[in-house]
């Protein structure tokens, strides 16, 4: 029962985290890079997205790590190769989220910013990563 509860909370946190990252991906590719060209609505959107990222998406990521770690330790999965592949992908996703979060903060601070070029492909990258993670965690092919 405890394991199932932790697993359910882990999944809820994953959905919240990935949802937040996908929204950031769309936002960062749609906004004007220079503060001068930005409308009032865009500025309000940036500030709301930043607040959501700080209060919801980032804590969800933290919860994903902690609950994932608890499950892996409980089920003694650290010897399984699939878990290590999954961990590498999760760390890479976390790094992408860190870059998105920093880029958003710079935009919110009205400082000129050209988002890193790879962020244009963040949404398909996130979707591909989460698909591989789902296959690894559910089918455990390795």
């Amino acid at each position: 029962m405890t394991y199932l509860l932790i697993k359910a909370l882990h999944l809820a946190a994953v959905i919240t985290w990935i949802g937040g990252m996908l929204v950031l991906s769309l936002l960062l590719t749609s906004l004007s890079p220079t503060a001068g060209a930005r409308s009032r609505d865009e500025t309000r959107l940036i500030n709301r997205a930043r607040a959501w990222d700080g209060r919801v998406t980032t804590p969800a990521m933290l919860l994903v790590w902690i609950l994932g770690l608890v499950m892996a330790l409980d089920a003694k999965w650290f010897a399984a190769p699939w878990l290590w592949v999954k961990l590498i992908i999760v760390v890479m996703l976390s790094a992408v989220h860190g870059i998105q979060s920093g880029t958003l903060r710079r935009l919110a601070n009205n400082r000129p910013q050209t988002p890193p070029a790879f962020l244009r492909f963040a949404a398909p990258l996130i979707l591909a990563a989460i698909t591989v993670i789902a296959i690894l965690a559910i089918a455990k092919p390795l």
Partner: protein, 121 residues
């Protein structure tokens, strides 16, 4: 415009202060792991020590790396300082080397008050 200038500097200083705190947390968990948990496991036959402290340090390490990535993505950081921020996370007591660097960057963001003659009454 001057207000915006002060605002972004304040926001960056807050971010640097948070990074300093997380760096300290990461450094302390690494010291507890190496100086306390590992000897307890190998010398006193108490493996639960590393089983408890290990994951706690793991999470603290991930939070620190995430904070570093987020902080350097919003500021103008030279590559050497970014590498330094990451490398010190692997060295025991390395977090204390971070304190000076982060404090220096925080101090550089303090806006000097305008000379008395230039102040508006």
């Amino acid at each position: 415009m001057a207000g915006e200038e002060v605002d972004w500097r304040q926001a960056e200083r807050t971010q640097l202060r948070r990074l300093r705190l997380v760096s300290l947390l990461e450094g302390m968990t690494l010291i507890v792991l190496i100086c306390l948990a590992v000897p307890l496991k190998h010398l006193a036959g108490y493996p639960a020590a590393t089983a408890i402290v290990g994951p706690i340090h793991g999470v603290a390490f991930l939070i620190y790396l995430w904070m570093v990535i987020s902080t350097v993505s919003s500021g103008d950081w030279p590559r050497g300082e970014i590498v330094r921020l990451i490398v010190v996370a692997f060295i025991p007591f390395g977090a204390f080397m971070n304190m000076r660097l982060l404090q220096r960057r925080e101090d550089a963001l303090v806006v000097a008050p305008a000379p008395a003659g230039e102040r508006r009454s």
